[in-house]
Symmetry: C2
Subunit: 554 residues, 2 copies
């Protein structure tokens, strides 16, 4: 059997190695347009910032190694130009020699990846404007950086854009981020990104939201980025991180179906409609594991697994891809933001019924030094309690809780199961009631109705005259430090003796700092004949929606 | 309703707070023998070592706070002496005043905890010999430490014993550990504790395994600990960490059933055979979640959850306890060891069929600085692949993987599901193929028989003349650095061209450093007409069983 693989990075390289393991006899040809195979895509920003000092570290496997160990016929600097499905050949263009030739295949795996978007803005092709997908990009950026960059503009505040920002700040570059949406990290819900925006500001990064680049002009000092708002930003380096589009030309030209966003369509075996052609990685349309609809989620982990699965199926081992959850993570300075499964905005857009809770626990026992507060937001089905998605932002331990919740999503766990999760506890690693257990307690209480809750967003969307009576049950000191407008303060420990100060003809929304005291207050009130709800996640959640100093929210 | 709770730490305090949340009307009496409620049990060793500097940090909630916030009638320094089930009263002894009195109950929750074992060894009651269960213990130890301790002996190398060792080393105390078993951390499988023993030695701790204290004698300088072997150890401080026994006297005297190891027996609602009496925490017998047999696992997380569940049931909310997995973790210097579910030795002893795999990946992408190697061992059902247990040892990221695997155990996942787990990847947090995925790949390959494996232990148990031909497929340099006796070295990349050097009439056991190259070698060999297996986890696993310099293994 002869297997030709187009693309030699995550999905393609995985497919090649796996195919060889399964079949010593197969002829395996790996065709890669660039000079490198299997390079560390996700490390590129850190090489720019110097965190990864040695460029060779980014070359996970050299073409010669794939040849020596796996007997893969690796052809770099070679571009597959077309597929002839009727005779099962591909046309390969050797970019070094210029030669073109046909290669036959029995099975073809398309792993061409995705290309960075370069919008047709005037001046987009000026020198100093870069995307960041491969080592060549990074070499070009590093060359500019090494000449000395005072100001940089990063267009797009997604994962890669912000990783690049961190590294530019590390290099002492004055950095401005321009993002079309009204938040950073668009896959996350907006309020969960408030700490990220704050951290960027604290590091001196200028963040321009709901803003876009409109044009680029060369100047004696470099470039000027013209924004939609009319503002002009001088820069010696511009990096575009506004997303990617699937490299689907080969598939489209061959008459293979692509989805509405351009991803090559495959079945659960990762087979295109041509049973001899498979496709994997960033170029394909995948099934959203939670929503069970087609989507596009370019991630390294799934690409690797898909490569493996395609090879399995080609080599006679039936193997299916279960879909992508979209588990993703960003490290930014001392902060971590991560997510898995569906976000609130996606659930809303998809009209999927859901409820949510917020908790703000510390990553480990508060009595042990170094505990850091995090925020977890978990979305779940209002009937079954099935976990639909989770997001976390904070410092240490966010990655662990999102990974735990990723497994919960995969296995179809409910919030009632989260109550029962038994994680490793010792004071430096967690708490006897882990943050994930806390999520379970709060969410299960909501569903069982013994802990009625109102979301901050629902509360603030109500017209002022329809809002419940707002009861702040924190201490007088905490109240004085900041509170939700119009709230009345009665400390939870005094509540039982001051019930006569509260209205019996009006719903009461109690809140505290993170939700625990508000929960107790709600219990006291509802058992004393009042109608009360707890504002989920308390004042800390409120502040995520209404960051201090954010005038737009007043 | 009047609820009386015996014991005010993890389980008891949780039950009290939960009961109040569920019922404003209940009368809740919390009786605690000691002066403190809800103190941070698990922080005690760190207070001794000074990592937790402020003693008040260990007092999670003061009795007055329970009173003010939860209207709990807290009675500290009060001991429940007996239960009269016929009239539903308890007899309480006020240890401060000496007064004794009866208290009625509608529902009684027993949360008395467990007491440290103090074996009847001559001299056991000498000054300077301590156990470590509460703040009074810790005050006594700290008093001795503050006077200056040169040498200490810790009897028992379990979790608490080793945490104490770390803290004594932090204080500069020459420490000897005496452990009856032939390994440290007896809940783990022996080979997984090899790195722990090594770390202790590196920190200058003397580790005496298969050894026991036989007697204690007072000397002018402190104590002498006499060991079974005859050896004598001078010490100014001796700490006993040899385990605990359930505080079951109250229950036994009241005619309630206890299990063979003394744990109070309860049903899934945590109710004793007297439907008005519940029991929770370290004092009870629990169901082993994996093996589904009664056992005793004293852990803070489960105790907290049990308190909550007992209160639920008393307050009319039906709630069941699913059993305990025994997820536990130790931080020791720079090392972490953790486990969840069943160990190999427990599975063997219980005659439960199982297979296992080892992987030795890094906690995050190798190309990003600071990656640390860990060892994961996962046990699973040989038919279904269901995950039965996991152990990890290494540095960063061990806690995360064991927590992920704890959820896998809880949800009944198989090793095939582990292949598909989608964790958060970015180079500082993980790998595109996470350690947990690697476990899945290796274990699934074993079950699907496309990756036949032989355990190191099985290999070494074979008589020399029945052993397979041992093939080391690492580089000549690696081979020269150390290898399994009698192995022949052919580098994996040269294997295809040197097949004629290998026997066709004998099984071949290939191995490399961690298992990956050995896997490929096995694939090559089996597809070329040989009968080959991969030695699971390679030379690193071999070294866990045969630590360099350990003469007993030669």
């Amino acid at each position: 059997m002869k297997i030709v693989i187009v693309g030699g990075v995550a999905g393609g390289a995985s497919a090649a190695a796996r195919a060889r393991r399964l079949s010593e006899d197969a002829e395996i040809v790996l065709v890669e347009r660039g000079p490198d195979v299997s390079f560390a895509n996700c490390g590129l920003p850190y090489y720019i910032g110097g965190k990864i000092a040695d460029r060779n570290k980014l070359l996970v496997v050299a073409p010669e190694q794939l040849k020596a160990r796996f007997e893969i016929d690796v052809r770099v600097r070679s571009s597959v130009e077309s597929i002839d499905r009727t005779v099962k050949t591909v046309r390969i263009h050797n970019l070094a020699s210029g030669e073109e030739y046909e290669e036959t295949y029995d099975k073809l795996i398309l792993a061409p990846g995705a290309a960075s978007l370069r919008p047709p803005i005037p001046g987009i092709d000026s020198p100093g404007i870069f995307t960041l997908r491969n080592l060549q990009d990074v070499d070009r950026i590093k060359a500019v950086v090494d000449q000395g960059v005072k100001q940089a503009v990063v267009v797009g505040a997604g994962f890669i854009g912000l990783e690049l920002v961190e590294n530019l700040v590390r290099l002492g570059v004055e950095t401005t981020v321009v993002e079309l949406q009204d938040q950073v990290l668009p896959p996350l819900d907006k309020e969960m990104t408030t700490p990220i925006a704050k951290a960027l500001a604290e590091k001196g990064v200028t963040l321009l939201l709901s803003e876009a680049a409109d044009g680029f002009e060369q100047t004696p000092d470099g470039l000027v980025v013209r924004l939609k708002s009319g503002q002009e930003l001088p820069a010696q380096l511009v990096a575009l991180g506004i997303g990617v589009r699937p490299e689907n030309k080969l598939a489209v030209d061959a008459g293979l179906k692509v989805g509405p966003r351009g991803g090559i369509q495959v079945n659960e075996f990762l087979q295109t409609e041509d049973s001899d052609i498979y496709a994997v990685g960033d170029a394909i349309e995948v099934q959203d594991f939670v929503l069970n609809v087609p989507t596009q989620i370019p991630l390294a982990g799934p690409a690797n697994r898909q490569g493996r699965i395609a090879a399995d199926n080609i080599c006679g081992l039936s193997s299916t891809y279960r879909g992508t959850q979209g588990t993703a993570i960003l490290g930014l300075f001392e902060l971590v933001a991560a997510m898995t499964g569906a976000s609130e905005k996606i659930l809303k857009r998809s009209e999927v019924p859901h409820r949510m809770v917020y908790v703000h626990p510390t990553d480990h026992a508060g009595y042990y030094p170094g505990a850091e507060q995090m925020t977890l937001k978990v979305l779940f089905d209002p009937e079954s309690g099935k976990v639909l998605g989770a997001q976390g932002v904070g410092g240490a331990g966010v990655d662990k809780r999102i990974d735990v919740l990723a497994v919960a999503v995969q296995s179809g766990m409910t919030v009632f199961d989260l109550e029962e999760i038994e994680l490793a506890y010792s004071p430096q690693f967690g708490s006897a009631k882990d943050p994930v257990n806390m999520v379970g307690f709060v969410a299960a209480g909501l569903l069982r109705d013994d802990h009625p809750q109102m979301d901050v967003s629902s509360l603030m969307e109500l017209p002022a005259d329809e809002r419940p009576f707002l009861l702040d049950v924190r201490t007088a000191e905490e109240f004085a430090d900041g509170h939700i407008p119009d709230a009345v303060n009665i400390y939870v420990d005094k509540l039982r003796s001051r019930l006569d100060e509260l209205p019996r003809d009006r719903e009461i929304a109690a809140y505290c700092q993170v939700g625990q005291r508000g929960y107790l207050a709600t219990r006291i009130l509802n058992q004393s004949g009042f109608t009360a709800v707890n504002v989920g996640g308390g004042y800390v959640t409120y502040q995520l929606y209404h960051p201090p100093g954010d005038e737009s929210n007043r």
